[in-house]
């Protein structure tokens, strides 16, 4: 099939635009959390995993330490190791391409690839979504950081409310059954109980420990919670 007519390329490009655009919110929230322009860009260029980036700035913005921010970000990135294993089997990158593939292994590129059935289309979907999001996410992070720098007091514009909405938006698609919803409620309660007693950032790690223990000992579907932040197929006509 021709590259330009490939369904995987179309899905990949549309999800790249949808995901890339919300780099604006990351850039603006990052400078509102106290990071400078270069620190914000370092996270998008080098870390490149939306949930982990939001986690890092969320902890810093709440007054947490660097080590707590790094821990929350690192734990939230563990799912990328699972994606990496799947993509290694599906895309089969060789040589230096493997190192590039690792960097663009995120929720959306994995979802785009796994949504295709032919091996060629799976590879195209992965690379078009992964590289497309990488370019647009960084471009729009820059736009958001510059806009955020220009607008002054972040509270006046409700940017702290934007952070709340962003986290709920990342959580929402993962709550399709009763058990993940129960895990979410328990972890939110544990966090709020810990807030008065632990330094900022630590309650998040306590909740992570609870979630990890639940995952280790319970027997629900293995892929629970591993949903892309943006559904690759929601904008596709049937």
């Amino acid at each position: 099939m021709e590259f330009s007519k490939s369904p995987a390329v179309r899905v990949g490009l549309s999800i790249a635009v949808a995901t890339g655009l919300y780099g604006v919110s990351f850039g603006a929230l990052s400078v509102a959390s106290g990071l400078d322009l270069w620190q914000t860009m370092a996270l998008s260029l080098l870390l490149f995993s939306g949930g982990s980036q939001f986690a890092f700035i969320g902890v810093v913005g709440g007054g947490g330490s660097g080590v707590a921010a790094m821990s929350a970000s690192g734990l939230l990135g563990i799912r990328n190791a699972v994606y990496g294993m799947q993509m290694n089997a599906m895309v089969r990158p060789r040589g230096w391409k493997r190192f590039a593939a690792a960097q663009v292994t995120i929720d959306e590129s994995t979802a785009t690839a796994t949504g295709q059935s032919e091996p060629l289309e799976q590879r195209r979907g992965f690379w078009v979504a992964g590289l497309g999001i990488y370019v647009l996410w960084n471009l729009f992070t820059l736009v958001g950081a510059l806009v955020g720098n220009a607008i002054g007091d972040p509270a006046q514009w409700g940017l702290d409310g934007a952070a709340v909405a962003a986290f709920l938006g990342l959580l929402w698609p993962r709550l399709k059954a009763r058990e993940p919803a129960a895990i979410a409620v328990v972890c939110a309660m544990v966090t709020l109980l810990a807030v008065p007693f632990a330094p900022a950032g630590v309650p998040i790690l306590v909740a992570a420990a609870v979630a990890g223990v639940v995952g280790w000992f319970s027997h629900g579907p293995a892929r629970e919670g591993l949903e892309p932040d943006v559904d690759p197929y929601s904008s596709e006509g049937k």
Partner: protein, 103 residues
């Protein structure tokens, strides 16, 4: 400078995590328990981050304009709005609540 250090460590950790999936023998990672923990960790952390960003200021629990943002975002998600619209709805709700006198 200290923050820069943790940013760079976070970036290295993130990259090595992704790379691990490509380098580790398939059998180690195919363990469904590992996949499951990755999933529940993601849910737990995002729920925790939502709670902290809505209800805490440092080590104090507070109810303020951010609750309006949480409700507005929930409604937008219920209506299947795209992510960027959800974020804008949250910001607008918090800004309006503050104009109306919420802390």
């Amino acid at each position: 400078m200290n923050l820069w250090l943790w940013i760079l460590i976070a970036c290295v950790v993130a990259y090595l995590t992704k790379l691990a999936g490509y380098l580790v023998p398939a059998k180690v990672m195919e363990n469904p328990q590992m996949t499951r923990v990755a999933g529940t960790l993601t849910i737990g952390l995002l729920a925790s981050l939502t709670a902290v960003n809505t209800f805490s200021t440092g080590q104090v629990l507070v109810v303020d304009a951010r609750l309006a943002a949480l409700v507005a975002a929930g409604v937008a998600l219920w209506l299947r709005a795209p992510f960027l619209v959800v974020v804008l709805a949250g910001a607008a709700a918090a800004a309006v609540a503050r104009l109306l006198g919420a802390a």
